[in-house]
Every structure is written in C-alpha cells, then in structure tokens.
C-alpha cells in the first residue's frame, strides 16, 4: 500500500515540478524576452550614459526644484528596491499621526506661501514604498515651490503636469495619476537649473 501510494506521488511530483517549475517559467521568459524585452526587464529608462531608473518604480525626490513623490516606508532608505513594503501602521497608532504631522510640516516649510490643504497622497506612505505616482492634485500643489526655485512661470508647470496626467484606464480602472520620475525628467530637460540648492535631509 505504501509503495503503491508513494511511487505515483513521487513520480508525479518530479514530472509536474519539471513542467510547472522549469518548463513553464522558462517558456514565459523566452517569449517575454523576445516579444516584450523592455517590459520584461524592468522598463528601464536610460539616457546616453547610464540607466536613470525604471518607468514603473518611484525614486526619492527631496530637492525643492523637483516634484516630490509619495512618502516611502522602506528601510533604511526610502524607495529601497531591495525591501518593498508599507508602514503597516494601524489607523489608531500615534506613530501614524506623528509621521503625517512631520511630513505636512516639511511640505509647508518648503513652500510657506501654499496655504491649500495638502493632498492626502503626499503625506501617507504607499503600500510598496516604491509608488511611482502621485495624484494630479498632489503635483499641482507643488507648483509654487518648483516654479520659484526654477524661476519659471507656474502656468508653464501647470501645462507640463497636464501633459503627464495618465487618466483612468477605460475611464474606469484605477485613478488618474502622474508619474513623478517622468515628470521630473521632463522638467529637468525643459527648464534646467544651474546649481540646484543642496537637498534637505528628510
């Protein structure tokens, strides 16, 4: 009885491991590498000299001349690609409100003239810690600061943001968003600044 059970169990485990654990992922890898090489390799954005980032992964922005992304709860540094994750702070945890208070104060200190309420995505940590996007309102909220540092008109930035808004898919799925890295790369290209001020430690 034992052998009659173990022989099929073992041989099927080996067979199905080869099929689903090696043949299947290797087949998908081969097809994906040929058919969608950019997407399958991390959607890298490269300029002439180096890979600047991934179109799908957010980066830590703290210089006042750039648009800032979501707070990231990864450790030890924000946007750590080796340790994705959220804060996991519960809604009642005082540490959550303390963190939000500090983030709000940092945003307000960087642009005292901006009196409007801060869009919620700018003060809450994302789920992955690598969120590449912010809401259009969160981008617009930062126009005053970026315009002043770059000495350009806010209207130019409003127009730039409009170009980067990704609407809901089919008008239904997800939320309208702006990819912060793409926006900042475009910003640096169109409105370069000489001698950006030293970034603040966050």
């Amino acid at each position: 009885m034992l052998f009659r059970t173990l022989r099929p169990a073992l041989s099927l485990l080996i067979l199905l491991t080869l099929l689903t654990g090696l043949a299947y992922p290797l087949l998908i890898t081969a097809v994906a590498q040929v058919a969608f090489p950019v997407a399958a390799n991390g959607s890298a954005i490269a300029d002439k000299t180096a890979v600047t980032g991934s179109a799908l992964i957010g980066q830590a922005f703290a210089e006042p001349g750039h648009f800032w992304g979501r707070p990231s709860a990864t450790t030890p540094q924000p946007y750590n690609g080796l340790a994705s994750g959220g804060s996991n702070l519960g809604p009642n945890n005082p540490a959550l409100l303390d963190a939000i208070r500090v983030r709000a104060a940092t945003l307000r200190a960087a642009d005292p003239a901006q009196q409007a309420p801060i869009p919620v995505d700018l003060v809450t940590a994302s789920a992955s810690g690598l969120d590449p996007d912010i809401s259009p309102a969160a981008a617009r909220w930062q126009i005053g600061r970026v315009a002043r540092v770059r000495q350009i008109s806010p209207a130019a930035l409003t127009a730039l943001i409009e170009q980067h808004i990704v609407p809901r898919f089919w008008g239904l799925l997800g939320e309208p968003h702006v990819n912060v890295l793409a926006l900042n790369l475009d910003l640096d290209q169109r409105f370069p600044v000489a001698g950006t001020p030293a970034p603040a430690v966050r």
Binding site: L13, T29, V31, G86, G90, P91, N92, R101, D121, D131
Partner: protein, 602 residues
Amino acid sequence: MSAHALLLLLVYLLALLVLAVPLAPWLARVFDASAPAQAAHLPAWERRVFRWCGVDPAESFAWWRYALAIVAFNTLGALALYALQRVQGSLPLNPQGLAGVAPDLAFNTAISFVTNTDWQAYAGESTLSNLTQMAGLTVQNFLSAATGLSVMVALIRGFQHSEAAGIGNPWVDLCRITLRILLPLSIVLALVLAACGAVQTLAPNLVVHPVEATRFQAPVLDAAGQPKVDGKGQPVLADQVTHEQTLVLGPVASQEAIKMLGTNGGGFYNANSAHPFENPTPFTDFLQMLAIFLIPAASCLAFGQMVGDARQGRTLLAAMTVVFVVMALWAMHVEEGAHPALAALGVDTQGAGGGLAGNLEGKEVRFGSAESALFATITTAASCGAVNAMHDSFLPLGGLVPLVMMQLGEVIFGGVGSGLYGMLVFAITAVFLSGLMIGRTPEYLGKKITAFEMKMVSLAILVTPILVLVGSAIAVSVEAGTAGIANPGPHGFSEILYAFTSAGNNNGSAFAGLSANTPFYNGMLALVMWFGRFAVIVPVLGLAGALAARRRHATHAGTLPTHGALFVVLLVGTVLLVGLLNYVPALALGPIIEHLQLGGLQ
C-alpha cells in the same frame, strides 16, 4: 460611496460572468473525462505517463485511499520545498547569492505554499533565489490549487455517482487539472502581465542611478553587527547617502499568473501585488482581480452541469455573490472615507481638484481607495491573500471586511476547489437545518443526509474556528506571541487574530505589521495552516465517499428545493450564522473597539 466605486464593482461582476460562463463547460469536461470510467478515452501519451508513474487511471479509489494519496502527495511536496529552500545557497539561478533559508522559516514557508495559504513570513526579494521561486513556490502554486480542485471533483462525484465504491483517481485528477486547466490559463495570463510591465527574466538585479542622491539616516552597527544604542536605549543613527537604487528582477510574471489563478497569493516581492513589477497598471490590477474569482466562479457553474441541474450551480454562485457584493460595498465605502484626524492637520482627504479621496496610507496612487478596497474584499473572499494595499493600515471597519471574509470559512468564492467544497458543506448544513425545521428527511441532490454525513460536515466546519481561536488565545497569552505586535492597543490584538484567521482559513494575507518571522509564529502558524487544510480535506473526502455509496433518488414533490431565492437565503443565513457566532466576541475586542477609539484621536 462614489459612483465610480459602484460602477467598478458592476463592471467587475459582469466581466467575471463573461469569462466564467464559457470556462465552466471546459472545466466540467476536464473533470468528467478524468473519471476512472473514462480511462479508456485518455490520449495515448497520457496513458503512457500514468503507466510510467505506476498509476492505473481506470482504478477508482475509496475515499480513505483518495485522502491518503492527497496527504502523501502534499507531504512530499512540503519536504521537497523545505529542502530546496535550505540548500538554495549552493544551487544555480541565485543571482543575488542568497543563503539557505533558516529552518523555522523554511518549514513555515513550505507548509504555507503546500496548503495554498501562501502566508509570507519572509520578504521574497531578499530571501528566496530565482530557483526557489520557480521550482519551489511556483510549483506548489500549481499543485496546491490542483489539490483543492481534485478534492472538489471527488465531492462532486459523490453526488454524481449512485452506489459507487470509489470517488475517482487522485493521480489522474491532480495531473489533468494541472496540465489542462491551470497551466494553459497561466500561460495566457503570464504573457499579458509581462506585456504590461510585470518583469520576467533570469537576469540579476537592475542597478539604476536615480536623478537625486538619496539622503537618509541608518542605524550604526557595532562590531558584532548589532545596532548601537545610546544612553536612553535609542539606536544611534548616522547620515548616509546613496547614489544607486537596486531593483530586484526575476521570473515574476509566470509566478504572478498562477498566484492569482490558483488563489495562492504568495508574491515574488514583499509588497506583493502592490509592487509595480508584480502589478504595474490598473489594467493588470483588474486582470488579477478577475483571475482570483475566475476558477471558483466557473467551478460553481461546472458543478451544476456535472450534477445535471444547472440551477444548483447558479444558486451557489448567487449566494456567494450576494455576500460578496455587500462586503465589497462596505469596504469601498469605509476606505473612500477619511481618517477623522487628518482634516485637523491640514490634509485634504476629499479628493479636491483632481486629488485622491480616502484612506491612502498603505495604498498605491494608481489603484486608489476604491479599487484597493475591492481587491482586499476579493482576495479574502477567495482564499487568495495577495494584496495590492496594506490591510494593516485600513480604517478599523475597513480592515474588518477582510477579517470577516476569511472567518466565513473562505466559502464566498473561496479558494480554487476549496471554496466550492466548503460551500457544499454549508449547503448540506442548510438542508439539514431546514429538514429539522419542517420535519422532512434532509436530502441534497437526491442523496439522503444521515448522521455520518453530518458528523463529517460538523468536523469540516468546526476545525478551522477551533484552530483560529485557540491559536490566537495562545499567542496573546505568551510573551513570544505578544512580542511580535507592531501597533499598540486593540489593533495589536487584531494583528494576531488576523494572522491566525488567515492561516487557519488558508488565506495568507496579513496585517503585516506583525513580526511573524520568529520560531514561535513560524511554528504555530505552520501547524494551523496544515490542519486548517488537511483536517478539513479528510472529512470532506469522507463525506464524498459516503455520498457516492448512497443510492441517488429522483426528486419528488416532498423534496425541499435546493435552488432559487429561498435556498439562497437559507444558505447565506447558515454561512453567516456559523461564521458570526464563532467570531463576534473576538471581533468586538479588535476592530470594533478600534473604531470606537478612532474618533478620539488627536
């Protein structure tokens, strides 16, 4: 509740139906063709494979031998996965040079994936090599799903057959379900995900040079590698700068596809389906949500076809949908609302001027509050456990929804296979209860329900709550349990209750603040997962054996109809009654107290 959320739910349900309806007859064909009576019609290559494996596909197993085969197959699978994790350091396809996994964590992860739970006490990107992810986790994603479906098919055969000694051949069921259902669906989904940006490569990490240097503070380590502490016991921090960002790549899309289709839920990355490389766009998010419910929904309809009465399948599907819709609306409503303390801090949570509304802590902007709450309901209604948002940071009554969905026993769509066999167990209970009330012999699908069947049903229903409640009680009573709590107050209790609920019901999602990678939690939760799976499967197979042996009667005027709106109400009532009676006291100590405290926060 926004109109957008309502529309999203409606379109989701329609899309699910459009996909499940054509899938159902295909499932039914594969299941029926796997019956021992059809063995002569198997293609020649399959018969050769079975001969090589020592399997006679014409042999029908008695229920206890079917159960023995399932448990033996899964035990071997767990041993293989444990061994693979332990020795991954000296095996190929390990571009990050990761060492072997610690024994307690490897034990927990092996049990977790074999039981279709996919609880993650580890962070995938920093713990497991590509070989372990592929030949270990991906394999068990397939095989645990096939196990659930096999047990489900065996139970359906119990209703189909009349005075039969056996309930099918487990080896044929496992093999054909994997190769003819799970593998083709996964290939299609994996390629779509890869086209949309889910990574799929064996190349090592992608190191990028971000636009800005990242300045941060990190703990200073002493000579022994431990963080230094100052006089007050606080860690000493030092300023650091990095000019690089390292992005972990791997065979993600192929694992992602079966992770959703098999209601497994174990992510390649720690952040699971919130990670942009697993779930890059709102469109892939929608596909992932559909993939979770696809096989469970189609299984209901296939069940109706297989027992020769499509109404029976539609009734089960309707009962599942009713509960799901109510819970999804609730979750979306709560999470689209604001954390009450934020307005005083000058934060806009109402979505003014193109902003996002709702509770965004632990959520991704591209998904937003409504879609994240919908995903959370789906992933816990089914025993998937993948997450695209961190449930730990949901508002108290929002986080209550995933908890309750699991506590209903993972029968609202549920895991592949396990959802339907769980729901059939509840259907028999409903028939039995109403039989008692109206004084008729309980019958379901022409089979008399006797004392033996009800004993098996009671076992299958009671095992999980006992594991969950006793496990939680032990964890809150010992220091090793409370040491893992991340959030103070009742939320800490919720984290523990969530962990055991998730393990016992083989879901795998978490209130992830809990530090679960300790010998205590790795060991306890592994046991809860194992018995939450197989201590249910064995009585369900016993039930299948007893039903198959019984003569199938034609229905008559005196039979209580088990289709239509009345039975939907009876069934939903039974599920809610059992689930809520078990868990309301525990819920009151956790999320409900949290909600009452929330208004007082400053």
